[in-house]
């Protein structure tokens, strides 16, 4: 059973309005509709923030990157083809913004798990009722998050887009601006690297866990 954690549940104010589609909101934005702009920002800011957090690792940087990216989204709205999904467009902006930040600061994705856990650590929620299984899965998620930080940017990006953001291959190709045929092979290489690193991190514990 899923443990509910209030902090991670989107508040009603941030929930996307169910009525208008992105294309409609974009058209209204272009016509100067302020309410539509607010609705569009509210609808997509959570996704933008999570992507930035997954790419950067630091919550403060992620919030800055997400807000800057939303600003960029609105600045480039007149060049957006509203017959296409908006999310890959926005994610492309977020990804570029995160890359710029990392390049400018010359730092790798930071690791928030050892930082301010009280407020910002990724909340690990487990649907398993079995406490032993829950601990095990929690550990896998923790190591997965750590292993992700060690991957090259190219692999981290594609994994985040697929595994955490659940983008289709077409959407990933659009965000990363690579041929669709490249997505599967790059993703597979990234997954294998990730699995290897997680295995390394889990190694001794996993072996110990297998003892009767």
């Amino acid at each position: 059973m899923m443990v509910s954690v209030p902090m991670i549940v989107p508040s009603p104010a941030s929930a996307p309005p169910a009525t208008a589609g992105d294309g409609d909101l974009v058209r209204r934005c272009r016509a100067g509709d302020r309410e539509a702009a607010d609705a569009l920002a509210r609808r997509h800011r959570r996704g933008a923030y999570l992507l930035a957090l997954q790419l950067l690792g630091d919550p403060d940087d992620a919030l800055d990157a997400a807000q800057d990216s939303l600003l960029r989204l609105f600045q480039t709205l007149d060049r957006y083809d509203d017959s296409q999904p908006l999310r890959p467009w926005l994610f492309s902006i977020v990804r570029n913004r995160c890359r710029d930040l990392l390049r400018r600061r010359n730092v790798r994705r930071s690791e928030p798990l050892d930082g301010d856990e009280q407020h910002w650590r990724p909340e690990l929620v487990d649907p398993a009722a079995d406490p032993h299984r829950d601990v095990e899965r929690r550990q896998v998620r923790r190591h997965l998050w750590r292993a992700l930080a060690d991957l090259p940017a190219e692999h981290r990006e594609i994994l985040v887009l697929r595994e955490y953001q659940d983008l289709s291959y077409e959407e990933i190709a659009a965000v990363l601006r690579i041929p669709k045929g490249t997505v599967m092979s790059r993703l597979h290489r990234a997954r294998k690297q990730l699995a290897l690193r997680v295995r390394d991190l889990l190694g001794p514990t996993a072996s110990a866990g297998e003892e009767p």
């Binding site: 800011r45 960029r72 609105f74 990724p122 929620v125 998620r141 595994e163 290489r189």
Partner: protein, 147 residues
Amino acid sequence: MSEPRAHAFDESLISGYLDGALTQQERQRVELHLAACGACTELFAELCELRSAARDTAFRIPSDEQWREAPRGPASRSLRWAGWVMLLAWAAGSGAFGLWHLAASSGPLWEKLAVFGGLSGGGLLLLSVLLDRLHALEGDRYRRVLK
């Protein structure tokens, strides 16, 4: 998983299979392969586990109060552009009138130089700002996002 695989199987199809991105023919090919190859079956199970772990991970998100005000929309940008056009038209008109007036007047030379200098200085400053903006626009890597 580390044992050598003596077969011409494109391993990345396993990821395609996991993601449901294969054709029926490719799916069948993967299923046949998995039934015969222990290493790939192990890899597939491992990737399934990692995917499940990633999707079970939830993240704390900022509250509404932590977001800055809504981003500037196209309406304010249009106003800004309109402002620039009007400012440029005003500067060009005023400058032309000033120069015409200056040339036609019979005032002292210092007065002509003062007016000409002021107008030229203002014009050059405006031009430098415009050139900076154009330069920034050319270097804007988000300008052609996805296009």
